[in-house]
Amino acid sequence: MNAPDRYERFVVPEGTKKVSYERDTKIINAASFTIEREDHTIGNILRMQLHRDDNVLFAGYKLPHPLQYKIIVRVHTTSQSSPMQAYNQAINDLDKELDHLRNAFETEMAKHSRDY
């Protein structure tokens, strides 16, 4: 009867931003990214990719509540970088990794269909 629509889990409501950015008021080079309608799939790969960055001092994500369809990614970097720079770099690197993975998978499948 009063169940929320199923699509609310993955459709960003109109007038809402997909990603919002908030600087930490007390710590320099620390910030939180609130990502609407995303979950562990994006949260965890972003977190792990941020951990590979030497300039990232802290990176973590949380899903505040299972019925609030958003995640919060918190990043703290050294003065050599900034949370925004680290965040963009992480997305770019993951994107390139997936490009590479797609090519690797396609060549491997082509090889397999030729062999058998």
Binding site: R6, Y7, R9, F10, V11, K17, K18, V19, S20, Y21, R23, F33, I35, E38, H40, T41, I42, N44, I45, L46, R47, M48, Q49, R52, D53, D54, N55, S81, S82, M84, Q85, Y87, N88, Q89, A90, I91, N92, D93, L94, D95, K96, E97, L98, D99, H100, L101, R102, A104, F105, E106, E108, M109, K111, H112, S113
Partner: protein
């Protein structure tokens, strides 16, 4: 402005396909971490789109199953969905103002069946007549043993003499997150590749019976004994389920360190089984594409960056003044 600069922390994963069938795929993924492997698994299950029946208008139903029961069963029938990636979601289709009944976002099906004999009539997925030849109920006939004279589809309902079923159904594009009927995956799993080291010197201090009982302590057949040399061998490392029974057994026998087993943290073995809606290999490719689209969607927008630049100046004033 930002996004460039700094060293790249990109990885270059390596793939090795082991076995491939239309609805089954086994491959190795190396040179990445569990977060990427798990993201791929999650996307394959819940976010790769397929087509499934979503709206059913029943004209006549005098079968023993009620209307909603039949509508639910129809929804679960897998439909060939090679077109799904390029199709539109009904909710953002502008050709039909969201009523979701146009050629760009939907496929129509008809079903008419009436039992006229004393023999029970099986209404199956084969009785569903599609308006689009690229979107039809999945045909499993080659997967089954084809010695039976007639190939059957998926049973929807059984009719006895005089009972009738007549309906119109609309199939739409959707994802598993919305409803499991849209999930193209039957199962997707991955495991860490195990690395097993037997301490040969310690094994040689065991008698043949002791070796036998140690080998048999593993619930799955990971080890065996060479009947000629009486040496303990690893026959199938991937059969190991990380149960640690062999490690406990070695300790109980007073021989700790008989075997050391590690999980290689950057090496995964994937098993993908598809419902037949899309090929297993295509499912992996679609999952990579969907994951890329998702990453693209979480990039910072231009106005967010600008707003922060202003904030930065303001902050500098506040700090400086």
């Amino acid at each position: 402005m930002e996004g460039g600069g700094g060293a790249s922390y990109q990885r270059f994963p390596v793939v090795k396909v082991r076995e491939t069938k239309d609805d089954y795929l086994k491959f190795e993924l190396r040179g990445t971490d569990a977060s990427v492997a798990n993201a791929l698994r999650r996307v394959m299950i819940a976010e790769v789109p397929t087509i499934a029946i979503d709206l059913v208008e029943i004209e006549v139903n005098s079968s023993v199953l009620n209307d909603e029961f039949i509508a639910h069963r129809l929804g679960l029938v897998p439909l060939t969905s090679d077109r799904a990636m390029s199709m539109r979601f009904s909710r953002d289709c502008d050709a039909c103002d969201g009523d979701g009944q146009c050629e760009f976002c939907s496929v129509e099906f008809h079903l008419r069946a009436k039992c006229m004999t004393d023999q029970t009539l099986d209404v199956t997925s084969k009785d569903l007549i599609s308006s689009d030849h690229t979107v039809v109920p999945v045909d499993f006939s080659d997967a089954l043993a084809d010695d039976s004279a007639e190939q059957k589809g998926i049973t929807i309902v059984k009719l006895r003499r005089g009972q009738e079923l007549r309906l119109r159904a609309i199939a739409r594009k959707g994802i598993g997150k919305d409803h499991a009927k849209w999930s193209p995956a039957a199962t997707v799993t991955f495991m860490y590749e195990p690395e097993i080291h037997i301490n040969e010197d310690l094994v040689e201090t065991l008698s043949l019976e002791e070796k036998q009982s140690w080998v048999e302590s593993s619930p799955t057949k990971v080890f065996d004994i060479n009947p000629n040399t009486e040496q303990v061998l690893v026959v199938d490392p991937e059969a190991y389920t990380y149960d640690e029974e062999v490690i406990k057994k070695a300790e109980a026998m007073g021989k700790p360190g008989l075997v050391e087993i590690y999980a290689k943290e950057d090496s995964f073995i994937f098993t993908v089984e598809s419902t037949g809606a899309i090929k297993a290999s295509q499912l992996v490719l679609n999952a990579i594409d969907v994951l890329k689209q998702k990453l693209d969607a979480v990039r910072l927008s231009e106005d967010t960056v600008e707003a922060d630049d202003q904030f930065g100046e303001l902050g500098a004033h506040m700090r400086g003044g």
